[in-house]
C-alpha cells in the first residue's frame, strides 16, 4: 500500500505522555481533605460543610465571570479544579458560623484579586486562599473571632456528634443554615470561640499547666475526664485527620516531603525550645495538634504555585513558615497564624529560589544567585 508524501504529521519529540493531569492532582488534594472535613463536621457541626458548598459555588461563579471578561474558554479552565480546591480550603479554614457574606467576600477576593488579576492559575505569587482569609480576618475581626463553634461534648446535656454548640445552644443543620444566612452579623453574648491555643495562651497568664489542663476544653467527656497534653477539645482529631490526608498525598507523590516536614520540624523545635516551661508557654503538642497546623502543613503551605521550587528552597520555605507560625501565635495578636506566615514566606519564595539552585549533573558546584552581567555591557546597571 503506497502512501503519498506528507501523509504523515510532523511533530517534534517527545511523543509519549504519562497521563497525569492538573485536574487529577487538584481533585486528589480535594479528596485528601475529606477525612479532615468529616472530623470537623463530627465535632463542630454542619457549619463547615455549608461554608464549603457556599464557597464552591462562589468560586466557580467568580472564575467563570472573570474568564468571560478575559475572553478565555470557560470550561477548559474551570475543569482543572483549582477554583474548587481554593474554595474547599477556605471553607475549612473559615469559622463554621461565619456569616455568608464573610465567606463570599473571602472567596471572591481570593479568586478575582489574588488569582485572576495576576494572570490566572500558575501566575499568582500569593496563596489565594490565604489572601482571602487574611482579608476577612483583618476587615471583619469580630465575625472572624466570635463565630467559632464549641465541640459537641462540651455540654452536660447531650453528646450527639454533629451538633455544634454556640452560645450554649445546640445547633442542628437548619439552625446552622439560619445562623449563617441571617441578617444579624456575628453573635452576641460575648462567646469567645475559644480554640485550645487561644485558651491556653490566655489562661497561662494566671494558671499553671496542671490547672489549665483540668479545664473543660482539655479534660472532658472524650478524654474520660482526665487531661493529657495530647487531647484538646476535638481539634486534635481534626489535625490527625488532616495528617492522614496529607500523608496519603505524600504517598501519591503529589508533593514532596520537604515542606510539611520542615514546617512541622521548625514549629516543633521552636515550641520545644521556647515552651520548656509549660506553665508559661503553650506546649509543643498543642502547637502541632491544634489549630490549623496540619491543614497548613499539608494543604496550604504545599500549594505549589506559591511555594519555593528547589529542594533546598522548600526546606527553607517550610522552616520559615513554621518559625513564623510560632512567633505570631506566641507574641502576635492573632489566635492562628497560618495565613500570615504563609503570605510572608510567599514574598520570600522567589528570592529563596534564586539562591538555592541544585548542582547540575557535570558541574562541580551549584550556580547560585543572579546571572552575572556581561563585562562589556553598555548599561550602567550595578546589580550583580
Amino acid at each position: 500500500m503506497s502512501l503519498s508524501n506528507s501523509s504523515f504529521v510532523n511533530i517534534t519529540s517527545p511523543h509519549a505522555h504519562g497521563g497525569n493531569t492538573t485536574s487529577r492532582i487538584m481533585m486528589l488534594v480535594i479528596l485528601a481533605t475529606v477525612p479532615g472535613i468529616i472530623a470537623l463536621t463530627y465535632f463542630f457541626g454542619w457549619g463547615n460543610l455549608i461554608n464549603i458548598a457556599l464557597a464552591g459555588i462562589t468560586a466557580l461563579t467568580c472564575e467563570a465571570i472573570v474568564l468571560k471578561i478575559r475572553k478565555r474558554p470557560i470550561s477548559f479552565f474551570l475543569k482543572d479544579n483549582s477554583a474548587l480546591l481554593t474554595a474547599v480550603l477556605l471553607g475549612i479554614a473559615l469559622p463554621p458560623f461565619a456569616p455568608w457574606w464573610v465567606t463570599v467576600v473571602a472567596v471572591s477576593f481570593a479568586m478575582i484579586f489574588a488569582k485572576h488579576l495576576y494572570g490566572g492559575l500558575g501566575n499568582n505569587p500569593f496563596n489565594p486562599a490565604m489572601v482571602g482569609y487574611a482579608l476577612v480576618l483583618i476587615s471583619f475581626p469580630v465575625q472572624m473571632t466570635t463565630t467559632w463553634a464549641t465541640p459537641f461534648f462540651l455540654t452536660s446535656d447531650t453528646l450527639i456528634p454533629g451538633q455544634a454548640i454556640i452560645a450554649g445552644q445546640i445547633m442542628s443543620f437548619t439552625d446552622t443554615l439560619s445562623v449563617i444566612f441571617s441578617s444579624t452579623a456575628g453573635l452576641t453574648d460575648g462567646f469567645s470561640g475559644a480554640t485550645p491555643l487561644d485558651t491556653y495562651k490566655h489562661l497561662a497568664k494566671n494558671e499553671t499547666a496542671v490547672e489549665i489542663m483540668q479545664g473543660p476544653l482539655f479534660a472532658n467527656e472524650t478524654t474520660g475526664g482526665s487531661a493529657s497534653n495530647w487531647f484538646a477539645g476535638g481539634w486534635e482529631y481534626v489535625n490527625i485527620a488532616f495528617l492522614i490526608g496529607g500523608l496519603a498525598l505524600l504517598a501519591l507523590r503529589i508533593f514532596t516531603w520537604h515542606i510539611p516536614f520542615s514546617l512541622l520540624a521548625a514549629l516543633g523545635t521552636c515550641s520545644m525550645l521556647f515552651g520548656w516551661d509549660a506553665d508559661l508557654y503553650v506546649p509543643w503538642s498543642l502547637h502541632i495538634f491544634t489549630g490549623a497546623t496540619m491543614l497548613g502543613a499539608f494543604f496550604i503551605a504545599t500549594d505549589p504555585v506559591t511555594a519555593s521550587t528547589t529542594p533546598l528552597g522548600k526546606i527553607i520555605y517550610g522552616a520559615g513558615i513554621g518559625i513564623l507560625i510560632f512567633v505570631i501565635r506566641t507574641w502576635g495578636a492573632y489566635p492562628d497564624a497560618i495565613a500570615f506566615a504563609v503570605l510572608l514566606m510567599n514574598f520570600a519564595a522567589p528570592l529563596i529560589d534564586t539562591y538555592t539552585q541544585p548542582r547540575t549533573y557535570g558541574h562541580e558546584k551549584a550556580k547560585r544567585g543572579m546571572p552575572a552581567k556581561p563585562n562589556d555591557s553598555d548599561t550602567s546597571s550595578k546589580e550583580g
Binding site: F8, V9, N10, R24, T360, M370, P371
Partner: protein
C-alpha cells in the same frame, strides 16, 4: 555475578515498555528493495566525498564516498547495482534539510565486492594486529555509532595510551519500543563480544562494563554465555542495571556504572571512559574479521499500525516504505475521519487525523514527513503508532509549579524554571540555570500534568541563545574592525595635516624667497636694460629654457611649469606671427599708411603672453631653487648630451652673431656677451666629461 557497586542518577521515569511486541520472532532478513537511497552525510562530522559517478556499476561493499577530514566516515554501496542519480534529497532528520544522496537501482544479484567475497580482507588474528591497522580498517569500513548519534568510531578510538581506564558498552536500550540491541545480543552475542575485545585492545582500557537493563533477561544470559567463550584473562563484566528511562543515555549510564559524572560540556574521555553501543561492537567485529563494511543494521519495526512488529536486518538506504510494507503497515482511519472525510479545518485536528511515523523511540525519536526516506546507519527503530497508542497532547494548561519535572530530570536541572525563563525570553537566566546541560530526553514533559511541551521550549531557547551568541560575536568583530578603521583614518588625517602644515611652512618660505628673487631679478633686468638700451628682446627667448631642459629628472612642478611655459611661448609666437602677417598684408595692400584692423588686439595679446612667459620663467627659477638638490647618478651620456646641446646653442648664437654683424644690429655686444657665456659653459661641460672619465673608468 557482578562485584560492581551500582550507583544511580536522580530522576528518571518508568514509562510503559512496549517491548514484548517486537521480540516474539527472530531477526528477519528483509527482501532486497528495488532502489537504495544512501545519504553521504549520515554521521556526525563532514559528509563524505562521493567518488562514483552516475551510470557506474557498483558491487556490494564497494566504497562510494570517502571520508572528508578527520571527523568523517566512509559510505559504501549496500548492494550491487547501478548508480542512477547523485542528487540533493530530503534527509531523515528532524530538520527536514536536504543532503547529497547516492541513489542505486539494485540489480537483484546482491553481489559482494571480490576482495570481500574471497575473504582476502579478513584479519583473523585481530588481537595481535597493529592498532593503526585496526583503526584504519574501522575507518575504511565506515563504522559509526549505531546507538542513535552516529559518531565516527575511528575518531573515538583516537585516544592516547593509558588515557582510558574503563570501556563501557551501552546495551541498556532504555527507550520504550526499541528492541534492536536486545535481539542482537540474543542472536549474535559472540560476534559482539569479539568486537568488545577489539575495542579493549584499541583503547587499552583496564576493564570493560557492559550495562544491560534488567528487562532483558535473555540478552543478559546470552552475553554472559558469550563471555565464557572468551579465552584468556579478560576484564569484561556484564552488569545488570535497573530499568529506568533514561539509563541508556551515555552520561547517565556512566554515572550508574562508575559513579563518575562527565564534566559539563566535556566528553567521557576526560574522565578516562569510552562508551560504545553494543551494535557498533558487532559491526566492528564484522569489519575487522570479515572485512565487511557497515552496510546493514538491525532495526525494530513496531507500533500498533503494523501487523507484524519485529526486528529486521535492513540494508542502509532502504526506503522506510519497504520496511512498512514488509511488516504489514495499515493506515488507520478514525471514525471521525470516516464520517467526515477530509472535512477537518482546525490545525489541531491535523495532528489528530494524520498518523505519525517516527524514526527512533517515542521519547527522543523524530517524525518522518514521508515513507520514502531511507534507513540510516543510526536508525534503530521505525515506530508507527496508532492514534490511541501515542495520542497527541491536549492544549497545554498553565504550569502549576508542581515540581514533578524537577523530580524526573536526570540531569538535576530545574525544568520548571527553565520553562518560565524560556517562555519569557530571559535567556541569561536560562543559561545560568544550565539549560545547555539538558539532554532533551523528554522525561520532564512525560510527567508534566499540564501537558506543557517542555522540550520544545528548551530547544527553542537553546537555538535563541546560540543565535544571540553568533550575533554578539559578529557585532564584536565588526566593532573591532570599525575601531581599527577609525584609528587608521585618524592616523592618515593626522599625517596629511602634518604634511600640509610642512608644505604651508615651506610655501611661505618660498613666497618670501620669490619676492626677494623677483626684486633681485627686476634690479638685474633694469641694470641690463640700462646697459643695452633696449627693451627686452623678444627673440632672445627665455633665458633659462636651456638649463631647464638640461636637468633630466625634474619634479612634477617643474615639468608642469615647463609645459605651461612652452604653451605660453607657442601662444606668443602665434600672436607675433599674426601681427607680422597683418603688417605684411597692410604693406601689400593699396593703402600702406592706413591703420591695420584688429592689430591692437593682437598687440595686446602679445603683451599679455609675453608677461605670462616671463612669469612662468620666474616660477620655474624659484621652483628649481626650492626643490631639494636631486642627487642623481650622472652618467657619461648625460654629460655628452649636455655637451652636444651646448654646442648646438653655440652654433645658433654664432649664426645670429654673423647675421647681426652683417646687418650691423645694435644687439651685437649683447650677442657677443651671450656667446662668450655659452663658450664658457661648453668648456665647463668638457671639463666635467674629462673628470668623469678619470673617476668613472
Amino acid at each position: 555475578m557482578q562485584p560492581i557497586t551500582l550507583h544511580s542518577f536522580d530522576g528518571g521515569i518508568h514509562p510503559q515498555e512496549n517491548k514484548h511486541q517486537s521480540t516474539q520472532t527472530a531477526i528477519a532478513p528483509l527482501p532486497l528493495p528495488a532502489q537504495l537511497v544512501i545519504p553521504v552525510g549520515q554521521h556526525i562530522g563532514a559528509p563524505a566525498d562521493v567518488i562514483v559517478a552516475v551510470g557506474d556499476l557498483v558491487l556490494k561493499g564497494q566504497v562510494i564516498a570517502q571520508p572528508k577530514g578527520f571527523v568523517s566516515a566512509a559510505v559504501h554501496a549496500p548492494s550491487s547495482g547501478k548508480i542512477v542519480a547523485i542528487e540533493q534529497r530530503e534527509l531523515p532528520h528532524s530538520s527536514g534539510l536536504e543532503g547529497t544522496c547516492v541513489i542505486i537501482d539494485t540489480d537483484g544479484q546482491d553481489q559482494w565486492l571480490e576482495d570481500i567475497a574471497n575473504g582476502s580482507r579478513e584479519i583473523s588474528d585481530y588481537l595481535e594486529a597493529d592498532n593503526d591497522v585496526l583503526v584504519n580498517r574501522i575507518r575504511d569500513c565506515g563504522i559509526t555509532g549505531m546507538g542513535g548519534a552516529g559518531f565516527p568510531t575511528s575518531v573515538k578510538m583516537a585516544v592516547k595510551d593509558k588515557q582510558i581506564d574503563t570501556l563501557i558498552i551501552n546495551a541498556a536500550e532504555c527507550e520504550p519500543y526499541i528492541t534492536a540491541d536486545d535481539m542482537l545480543m540474543r542472536e549474535r552475542a559472540i560476534a559482539a563480544m569479539h568486537g568488545i575485545q577489539i575495542l579493549m585492545k584499541l583503547t587499552s582500557a583496564d576493564n570493560c562494563l557492559i550495562g544491560i537493563e534488567d528487562n532483558k533477561p535473555e540478552a543478559i544470559k546470552a552475553m554472559e554465555d558469550a563471555l565464557h567463550s572468551v579465552h584468556g584473562e579478560h576484564h569484561i563484566t556484564v552488569v545488570t542495571v535497573p530499568t529506568k528511562y533514561p539509563s541508556g543515555g551515555e552520561k547517565q549510564l556512566i554515572k550508574i556504572l562508575t559513579g563518575k559524572e562527565v564534566p559539563s560540556g566535556g566528553i567521557p574521555s576526560a574522565i578516562g571512559i569510552v562508551c560504545q553501543n553494543v551494535g557498533t561492537c558487532e559491526a566492528i567485529y564484522r569489519a575487522v574479521a570479515e572485512g565487511k563494511p557497515l552496510i546493514s543494521r538491525i532495526t525494530t519495526i513496531t507500533g500498533e499500525s503494523v501487523e507484524q512488529p519485529q526486528n529486521v536486518e535492513v540494508l542502509i538506504g532502504t526506503p522506510v516504505k519497504h520496511l512498512l510494507a514488509f511488516a504489514g503497515f495499515k493506515q488507520e482511519k478514525s471514525l471521525f475521519q470516516k464520517l467526515l472525510g477530509s472535512f477537518n479545518a482546525s490545525s489541531n485536528s491535523e495532528s489528530e487525523s494524520k498518523p505519525r511515523l517516527i524514526m527512533g523511540g517515542p521519547m527522543m525519536g523524530f517524525t518522518l514527513s514521508s515513507d520514502e526516506l531511507p534507513i540510516l546507519k543510526s536508525s534503530n527503530c521505525i515506530l508507527a503508532p496508532s492514534q490511541k497508542e501515542l495520542p497527541a497532547n491536549d492544549i497545554a494548561s498553565a504550569c502549576i509549579r508542581c515540581g514533578l519535572c524537577t523530580e524526573a530530570c536526570p540531569a538535576d536541572l530545574l525544568p520548571q524554571q527553565l520553562y518560565w525563563f524560556s517562555k519569557a525570553g530571559e535567556l541569561d537566566k536560562a543559561e545560568q540555570h544550565n539549560i545547555a546541560d539538558c539532554i532533551e530526553c523528554g522525561a520532564c514533559s512525560y510527567v508534566c500534568p499540564s501537558e506543557i511541551p517542555l522540550v520544545q521550549y528548551y530547544r527553542h531557547a537553546k537555538g535563541a541563545i546560540k543565535e544571540e551568541r553568533a550575533t554578539q560575536l559578529k557585532s564584536d568583530r565588526s566593532r573591532v574592525r570599525f575601531e581599527a578603521r577609525q584609528d587608521r583614518l585618524d592616523r592618515e588625517a593626522a599625517e596629511k595635516e602634518a604634511k600640509r602644515q610642512a608644505r604651508a611652512a615651506t610655501a611661505e618660505k618660498a613666497q618670501a624667497a620669490k619676492k626677494a628673487a623677483a626684486l633681485a631679478q627686476q634690479k638685474e633686468a633694469a641694470e641690463e636694460a640700462a646697459k643695452n638700451g633696449d627693451p627686452a628682446n623678444p627673440d632672445s627667448g627665455p633665458p633659462d629654457s636651456g638649463s631647464a631642459e638640461s636637468k633630466a629628472p625634474e619634479p612634477i612642478d617643474l615639468e608642469k611649469l615647463q609645459k605651461q611655459l612652452d604653451a605660453a611661448q607657442a601662444g606668443l609666437k602665434k600672436s607675433m606671427d599674426k601681427i607680422a602677417e597683418l603688417k605684411a598684408e597692410a604693406e601689400n595692400s593699396d593703402d600702406p599708411a592706413a591703420p591695420i584692423e584688429n592689430i591692437e588686439v593682437f598687440e595686446k595679446a602679445v603683451a599679455t603672453r609675453r608677461d605670462k612667459v616671463k612669469l612662468l620663467a620666474q616660477q620655474i627659477t624659484e621652483a628649481k631653487k626650492l626643490a631639494p638638490p636631486v642627487k642623481k647618478e650622472i652618467t657619461r651620456d648625460d654629460i655628452e648630451k649636455k655637451l652636444r646641446a651646448q654646442q648646438d646653442r653655440i652654433d645658433k648664437t654664432q649664426q645670429r652673431f654673423q647675421l647681426a654683424q652683417e646687418q650691423g644690429s645694435e644687439t651685437l655686444p649683447a650677442l657677443q656677451k651671450g656667446l662668450d657665456k655659452q663658450m664658457q659653459k661648453l668648456k665647463e661641460l668638457e671639463a666635467d666629461l674629462a673628470q668623469f672619465d678619470k673617476a668613472g673608468a
